[in-house]
Symmetry: D3
Subunit: 166 residues, 6 copies
């Protein structure tokens, strides 16, 4: 088990797909934590655009230069996964315009379920405050250009997956 | 300069006085950071109830058992103080019911002024969601009992300072 | 028809399932109202976890010791049900972290539809601020422990209904 | 002490001055409570426009036709006043556009200080959602017409007090 | 292309159905803009209550007396439609109680996608602050009376479409 | 009186001092309105950093290249000033992180006081979402660098006025 003073952090999410906003949080969290695991939620109830395998490979390619970052996937309760990883921190980005209340509610419930793992909120950069995976999928479906909002590998895969997109 | 992977954190505030809500954040942040400085803002524009010296001694007494915590005061810009301390993290508690937007605004502006220091928000425990230093001073002024909301040393000093209080 | 000064109140909801947060509101509202009807919304458009009959029996068992409480179900407009019950109050719990705006919108529209019935908001206890029926179903589906969040009879039925849960 | 099932309510505030929004809440609360005390906060720290005596007389004149309403003033903690009046309810209006969070914070702290007194929120009518005593004083100071926002007696006194107003 | 100082505005929405709140925004926007196009979003992913054709005819009938208003429908990205129409303004109503954050998020993303088209928010009248197309459909489905919330032609069509409604 | 279809707009504020966020709103509003008056509120109750004359000259210098913009000052009610100027539009910037509710409240009350003048909200650019005149004064007082947040003429005058600033 790590020393309590070591920040072993998890950055959970659907990442369907990874956005530049996610990537910004990853870089910043990796500067604070000793070890950061990007943990893709494998939610069988939702129909994702990209499979867990595709998401793993896109995130790995986009974060390959950050030494203390690892990419993984999990199912079940986040706090149970955090316990298996001996993580004492969960990283979440919050955007000024966003599901702020849902985030706080999840942080409170996760703290109640497992007080040993703390949720740490990083403020999303203001230039990313309107970017969400859902928005990106919607824009690309309607023929819009999302090249400014996602990493190159994601853009390439989006164009393969949705040929109608620009 | 510390290795980027070391979390050198500052927990800034007025702490006039320290509450159990502050103390909860201090304990939790000390479990994540390598070193935590509780930094009392010396704001000459405001008339505090307790002098900076009194606040320093009350916080020191209340945190004496936490190894990696230090208490200090500062004036001027927080990010300049963070630079002098080589801190890469600023800890802030956010309460569901609170000045949430002010907190995000300050985090954005601090990030713009000094990107090397990241603001990390911890969710205040729900049992502390209504406690603020201002509320405590107001209740005690009106003759209310605040013993459940502040550490023992603060309660003792409040009673000395405001004899009308219970 | 009751005297206008008699508080005949309805506490409407899905209660799928009843939580400790609901139970707290029920106890507090029963201390204020002359008569309180817990009114289960029979919404044919949603697939509930528990049938209306199961919810009725769980709520009855959990509130059997409160003299002025009755459990019922209804379909159609809430204000029409309130009129049939000659109710002059609708009780709603609001959580600091929640669908606050939806609650206010419904209160305004219900007041427009039937001004004789007033919506009264009680503040959810801070220890219940993160509990919702939806959250509880999600946690138990993912194998989490919800014994601290629901009454014993609900926990028992949840375990029968979802054997995978702890 | 009243039976717990009797709603003995207090509607506290500064009422400097009483607005049509306040009056709407008073009428609605008087339809729900057995007895309603309008309790003027005597806050020595603030410079009011109208003295407590003036406010008492204006509210009495505006509510003289409501049988179960009484007007009073208090200083000190609201919950201590509620205890002296054996009140089990505190009435507060909430406006969609307003100091919502402050209201919830005060409700939580009052509940912690005295659980026997429940805070009940009524939704302000949408036609009053922008009216506050502060706004009214500001408009009248700037020469605006507030006759649609306050009861006749308040308008008359405002014109005597601030001759510049229309 | 119009002179930049000419306000060529689009008021986009689903209008399923048109409400009195929409109509209020249309009248007010038509007083500000040189030309206003009411643009019905043709969203194939959603099951509307009224077809695009039905919505076009109801809006045309309800706005026939406003000289500078035109009704149209579009699919695809709103900013692409705005470009085709050489519009420099998008009109949106915001309600105090509403999806405010979603509105801001869409305005930011539309501005990023096409800076030449500005989003202009008008504040919904407080008497319309609780009206939404979704609410109206829900109320009428439950047998409620919506005659105060929609224009006459919409009420007539709603009664034909949903005979159960009053 | 102007034709109703002409947008004669006022952009009111304290502008103490003008920020890059204000300037962004001015440029965008000038692209929509036929005529835009930047109206400095002369509020005798507040102690400004810059006199009205200084603010007038700084805004004039910063907007001299925009043809349809005029700078003025006013005291009294904004809607009375709007009536004197025959303005049918009031421009306000809203920031995602901000006094949103105050803005809506003022818009509602201004509409009630004078329905002929409409408030139009423009979304502040996300890069300005944390900039306010108050923040800028605070940062410069504490020795921070605000050169990225204000126009050159304002920076020059701030440095003359507050020599301690960088």
């Amino acid at each position: 088990m790590p020393d309590a003073r070591t920040l072993i952090a998890i950055y959970p999410g659907s990442f369907d797909p990874l956005t530049n906003g996610h990537l910004d949080i990853i870089h910043r969290a990796a500067n604070l934590a000793d070890h950061l695991t990007i943990a893709i939620l494998n939610n069988s109830a939702k129909q994702p655009l990209f499979s867990v395998g595709e998401r793993l490979s896109m995130i790995r390619e986009s974060t390959s230069k950050i030494a203390n970052v690892e990419v993984d996937s999990f199912s079940g309760l986040l706090v149970d996964y955090a316990a298996r990883r001996s993580a004492n921190g969960i990283i979440r980005g919050i955007r000024a315009i966003s599901d702020y209340e849902i985030e706080l509610q999840m942080a409170l419930i996760n703290r109640r379920l497992r007080p040993e793992t703390e949720t740490l909120f990083l403020m999303a950069g203001e230039e990313f405050s309107f970017i969400s995976s859902r928005m990106i999928k919607e824009i690309i479906t309607l023929g819009g250009d999302v090249s400014a909002f996602v990493p190159p590998v994601v853009l390439k895969r989006l164009r393969e997956k949705l040929p109608a997109s620009r």
